[in-house]
């Protein structure tokens, strides 16, 4: 007598699909959360460290929507970096490398960041000079 071979049905266990989905979600969440932010670090000395007497000796950069004025001279955007580099050349002490940035109230953030980045790339230390009286919108 010839015995019949019983066929074994091999299929993934249906009850494990929930666990598989769970592990997939955890995997993608971890992948998403470790995506790093890219940014530009900026070191700003606190306002107390810059005395009024020193400010006159430091380089002053006035930023407005239309122009960049370095120590009173209107400077084209493509010459800002070279001008700053020349002014900062030979200055070693951090206090000498302070660049005071004054911004008009209508200056856009993207423009301000481009100019302050140029100052830092030229070796300057950005310091903000804010107006004493300013209307601040509180949400």
């Amino acid at each position: 007598m010839r015995g019949r071979r019983t066929k074994v049905l091999v299929e993934p266990p249906a009850h494990a699909t929930g666990d598989i989905a769970f592990n997939l979600i955890v995997f993608f969440l971890v992948c998403a959360s470790i995506q790093p932010d890219s940014g530009r670090p900026q070191t700003l000395p606190s306002s107390e460290t810059v005395e009024e007497g020193q400010q006159t000796e430091n380089i002053e950069v006035a930023v407005s929507r239309a122009a960049v004025i370095i120590n009173g001279d209107v400077t084209p955007m493509n010459r800002v970096f070279t001008r700053l580099k020349a002014l900062l050349a030979g200055k070693q002490a951090p206090d000498d490398r302070v660049v005071v940035v004054k911004s008009e109230s209508d200056t856009q953030y993207s423009r301000w960041l481009t100019i302050t980045s140029m100052i830092e790339d030229a070796g300057g230390v950005v310091t903000l000079q804010l107006e004493e009286e300013r209307i601040v919108e509180v949400p």
């Binding site: 009850h15 494990a16 699909t17 929930g18 666990d19 989905a21 769970f22 979600i25 955890v26 969440l29 790093p36 932010d37 890219s38 940014g39 530009r40 670090p41 900026q42 070191t43 700003l44 606190s46 306002s47 930023v63 911004s103 008009e104 109230s105 209508d106 200056t107 856009q108 953030y109 993207s110 301000w112 960041l113 481009t114 980045s117 790339d121 903000l128 804010l130 300013r134 209307i135 601040v136 919108e137 509180v138 949400p139």
Partner: protein, 134 residues
Amino acid sequence: MKLTRRKTRAEVPSMAMGDIAFNLLIFFVILARATDDSHLQWTPAKVSNLANAGPSMVSVLVDKDNKLYLNGQQIGIAELAGRIETALGDAVHGERTVLVKIHNDTLAQRFEPVIEAISEAGGDLVHIVEEEKQ
């Protein structure tokens, strides 16, 4: 004639464990998003020479409607410095990173007091921006 009562077994279906775990996960993900600022609308400025921002406990955001947020929660400029100082606690220099996310069209009258407040709180500023393609 005496009828015997049929005993029914009550137990938690093990089949549903995966679904329960899935729903719990969704719940905690939604809860986590409340302290996250990824749902806020802003366009980053474009600058060259970027670096990795690294880990940070504090994120300050000014959205396209000029609203100010600290870790995803809307606040006023007057309380920003104090709240950042509290959030940073006794963290040493190098671990006091504050991510600054400012909409690219925001004007100086709005963003300069924000930057000043972060500086006053002793935070290490990192402007979150996009790489400028040249």
